[in-house]
Each structure stands twice: as structure tokens, then as C-alpha cells.
Symmetry: C2
Subunit: 318 residues, 2 copies
């Protein structure tokens, strides 16, 4: 397996083949002062430690003042698993099932019929139009506060089909350590994900230590309205922004207004975010999580429908 480490170049992507698979439980660190005890020793871990050292040491030529230490993380497949389906899709499917008693017509109408019958193949065949109907029915038609409650209930009760754990426990322990390590070194850690911004915010602080204002993601349209004299934000079934691929640097610029010096992803959807990070002045760190552990998690890359890693892998190898 190729390990490419070039943390200061314009196009160098650091390829992690070694960190995957620890789901929800920590490996015991041999050294109590090791900030990354779940990481295998080796050049990848060393490169991360060296990078952090170089940008935080005020005598280093690569020193970056604390307020410029911005690190962005993809979520699906980078901080938590994205198999066998994106967890937010599972949330939407669960939500359709929960709402079905109020919508008897769904038993005869695609894509809802397929969802209720558990026919994922038919759901998939309903295409983008079907997916938008599912998103609309599950994510819109309520206030932002109501949606937050719905997400909170799901994330604290629904279980992953393979691991039989809460989805918020199907996170990568090495990445939790990395988040904490960066923050301990003055970094501001952001999530920049194709996932829904309002789907992640209710639990990102508890699970990742990332507050709502540091979560960037896809969104649907919301509108300010008065309801019984009380101002609310209503959620409408219309996509506003898809935070993926070329849109990630755009979102980073819009929400953060500074270029990251470290970025972490796992798929071609993160490629442009890593390129944007690499093109900054000074030293930068770009990391691709490569899913290679079929035993403890999943192994997938170029041929996967979920989290396809192809072009970015080529660039990492180059």
C-alpha cells in the first residue's frame, strides 16, 4: 500500500491507510502522553505531529498565529462511517416510516412505497427526483426548532444495522483524538460536509466537540414567518446548497472567510477542499482517509457509490 506524505507541497495529499476501523472504543495507548494513542506509529502519524509542531512553535518559519489555525473535516466517511448507506439517508428512511400512518397514500406511491417495503433497490431507482421527495417529506414542513428535536430523538435512539450501536457511536476514535489534539494546539476545528447542516448541528458538539457555528453543510430553504404571533423559521422542501466537491471551497470561504491550513476528507467530494487548502501560503496538511479495513469497518474506494475515492486517490498517489 502506497503511503504518500508531502505535507507542504501544493498537490501533496497525505494518505492514511492505517487509522480505520476503531468504532466507538479506544485502543490502549502505550505512552500516556501520546496525543494520538489510537494511531499506528509510522510516517503518517509522525507527519501530523511534525506539522502541528511546525505551525505552533513561534520560533518556526512555518508558525501560524492561533486565529489562523483553521482545520476542516469532512464528516461522512471521515469522522463517522457512511456504510451501508449514508446515515442521514437512514434517518430520512426512518422518518418516512414514522410518518407513514399519517400518509396512507404513501403505500401506493413511489418512492415512499419502496421505503415502506424496505426496497432500497427501488428507492435507488427512483433517482434524484425520488431522493428529493424523500428529503422533502422527511426534512421539511416544520420549524427549525421542531426539526432539531426530531434529529435529537433519532440520534439518541436509532441503531446502526451492523454494529447495533447508536450512529453517533459509529465514529472513528483516531479522528476524535485528532480533533482534540488540534484543538489543544489552538486550532479551530470545522466540519465541512455534504451532510445537512441542520442534521449535524444538534449533536456535533456532544460527539465531536464542534459547536454549531463551526458546522458547515448542505441546506434546504428556510423562511422567517410569524406563527401565532411568534417568529419561526420554516423549513421548505427545496434544496438551497449542496456542500460537495467544488462547493466545499466556496462554502469554506463563505462561512469561515479564511483558508484552512489543514483539511481532512475521504472521497472525491473532498478533493477540491484539499486542493484549496494546499494552495494556501505557508505549510498545510491534507489528509485522505482510505477505507481499507473490511474486517472492522468497510473496504471501498474507486468503485463505490458511497464515498467514491478515485481522482483524489490518483493525486495522492502522484
Amino acid at each position: 500500500m502506497i503511503l504518500r506524505i508531502d505535507i507542504s507541497g501544493l498537490v501533496g495529499l497525505l494518505w492514511l491507510a492505517t487509522i480505520m476501523g476503531l468504532l466507538g472504543c479506544s485502543r490502549h495507548g502505550e505512552n500516556s502522553v501520546d496525543p494520538l494513542p489510537s494511531w499506528n506509529e509510522g510516517p503518517t502519524k509522525q507527519a501530523i505531529l511534525d506539522f502541528v509542531q511546525s505551525v505552533t512553535d513561534s520560533s518556526s518559519e512555518w508558525f501560524v498565529p492561533a486565529d489562523g489555525r483553521i482545520a476542516t473535516f469532512d464528516n461522512d466517511g471521515t469522522l463517522w462511517s457512511e456504510q451501508p448507506v449514508y446515515f442521514q439517508l437512514q434517518f430520512a428512511l426512518d422518518r418516512i416510516k414514522a410518518l407513514a400512518p399519517q400518509h396512507p397514500e404513501w403505500r401506493q406511491r413511489q418512492p415512499f412505497k419502496a421505503v415502506l417495503e424496505g426496497d432500497l433497490q427501488a428507492v435507488s431507482e427512483s433517482g434524484m427526483r425520488g431522493l428529493l421527495q424523500i428529503v422533502g417529506a422527511s426534512h421539511a414542513g416544520m420549524t427549525t426548532s421542531e426539526f432539531e428535536q426530531i434529529v435529537q430523538e433519532w440520534i439518541t435512539t436509532a441503531k446502526h444495522p451492523r454494529f447495533n450501536r447508536l450512529y453517533s457511536e459509529c465514529v472513528f476514535q483516531p479522528m476524535l483524538e485528532l480533533l482534540a489534539y488540534l484543538r489543544a494546539n489552538g486550532f479551530k476545528t470545522y466540519i465541512v460536509s455534504g451532510g445537512g447542516i441542520d442534521f449535524m448541528r444538534p449533536w456535533a458538539q456532544r460527539v465531536y466537540g464542534v459547536p454549531p457555528e463551526q458546522v458547515v453543510g448542505s441546506s434546504i430553504v428556510t423562511q422567517f414567518e410569524m406563527r401565532d404571533g411568534v417568529p419561526v423559521l420554516m423549513r421548505y422542501p427545496e434544496i438551497e446548497f449542496i456542500d460537495d466537491k467544488e462547493a466545499k471551497p466556496v462554502a469554506i470561504d463563505k462561512f469561515i472567510g479564511r483558508r484552512p491550513i489543514a483539511a481532512f476528507g475521504n472521497s472525491d467530494g473532498d478533493h477540491q477542499m484539499l486542493q484549496w487548502t494546499a494552495a494556501g501560503e505557508g505549510r498545510s496538511l491534507m489528509v485522505l482517509v482510505h477505507h481499507t479495513d473490511a474486517e472492522r469497518e468497510w473496504a471501498y474506494d474507486r468503485a463505490s457509490h458511497i464515498g467514491r475515492l478515485d481522482k483524489a486517490l490518483d493525486e495522492a498517489n502522484a
Copy 2:
């Protein structure tokens, strides 16, 4: 002059008639421990001090943990002046003049002809279509980095026509003190302005102590592109988002993901932001800056084209 102070109610807007006019120079505080030395003594100042005390005292029933202490500030007319024209409009007009030698056709074409001839009446008569042409020509057609440089140069050289000071010096000293006072009490201070997000970010940290990621504003479309092998974000002459009126609570929800407990504005464009803040649980502080000092700044409200204060004033009076 009516002074309405109701900092905990659902619809109470705190109306400041007393703080205006100190442009760029500090009044001497009689008391060295006074955190707001430029503020007149009285119920308004006292209400602010009481509010901050009540949400920061852990034994108070209104206590709010530090990470929930979100305060949002309008910019034009709240933190800096907005007369005789919005400063960003002046930036656009100056930019058109600077670019004119490269565009000889502008001498014959409206609205550019009017700009070059200094005919503000004709600029105004060109309406929204003319304004968008001016914005497009002055704010788009370059990378985000290039635009940042252009703004930096203008903000450090252009002078206000009445005060003959840099625009960044035409800020309200009492509000600078308020920003600093809130931050010293654990608040995260945000700008939520109808002004351009990319126009404010280059100088907001230096002038207001507000970092780029805490500046929310209007935006035009940007796109990720490769230029000579280097990734850039190009600015296009298309409005993406106008951060005004009903859109301010939408933007607050999108960018911050939490409801403010304190909000500061000066016009009907801030009305919904104050309503949204007031509708939160717990105690909240809503402040309207009322421009009443024609001698040291300007006096205007209901009849003004800039910073019209009408409906929100009614609500404050009620």
C-alpha cells in the same frame, strides 16, 4: 424623547437615543472601571449592565453558559455611520472611477456616466438595475483574494466627505466599547449586516475585533475554478443573498446555528433580527440605535431612504 427599556420581554426593544455621535474619539470616563465610559449614565446603560450581569452570574436564574452568549450587531448605522450614503456604495462609486480609464465606453453609458459625472441623482434614478450594474462592475470579475486587496486599499486610504477621516474611523465609540465589554464577559460578537460579507471581513477584525468567521452579510456568487493550475474562487456579478429584514434571522440560523441573546440594530432592516432574538427562551437584550444627533452625526428615522427606522420604532415605543 421616549426611552423604552424592557430587556426580558418578547417584544421589548431597547431604544437608545443617547449614545450617538462620538466619531473616532473617546469621551473621557470619569470612572476608570466603567466598561462603557462613552455612554451617558441612565436607564439605558444600566439596563445593559444589568443584562450582562444577569446572564453571566452563575447563581442567577438567567445565567447562560459562555458558549450560548451570542450577540449580533448590524453594521451600517449601528457600528459605523451610513450617511450621506452607505459606505459600501461609496466604495463602489470610487471603484467605478478607478476602473473608468479601462472602460472608455462608460462615459456614454448609464449608470456609469452618472457615476463618473458625480450625478448621484441620476445614479439613484437608474434604480435596482443600475445598482446591480455598478455592483457587478465594482465587486465582480476578480478572485476573492484580489477583491480583498482592493477593499484593503480603499479602507486604508479613502476619506469620508464630511469628517475627512478614513471610513473605518467613522465608527461609534460607544459601540466599540459595547463590543469589547460583551467579549470581556464571554460573549461571541457577530456582525449580521446587509453589507457585503467580503467587503466587511478584510477590516472587521482590526476595527471591531470581530474575526472573519463572525461576519455575516450579503454575498454575490463565487465559483471554484482552476486558473493556470492554481485553484481560485472567482466572483461573478450575480446576487446570491441579501442579508436584510426577514433574511437576517435566516442568516443567523445558517451561519451561527444558535439564537442570539442580544441583538443591536438601527433600522427596519434589523426588526426581524430583534424579534427573533426576543423570541428566545430566557433573558434577551434588544437595542435600537436611534440617530438623533444632527450636530455630531445625522438625525434621521422614519423618512430616511438610508437606514429607515419606522416599524421597529413603533414596536419600541409600544
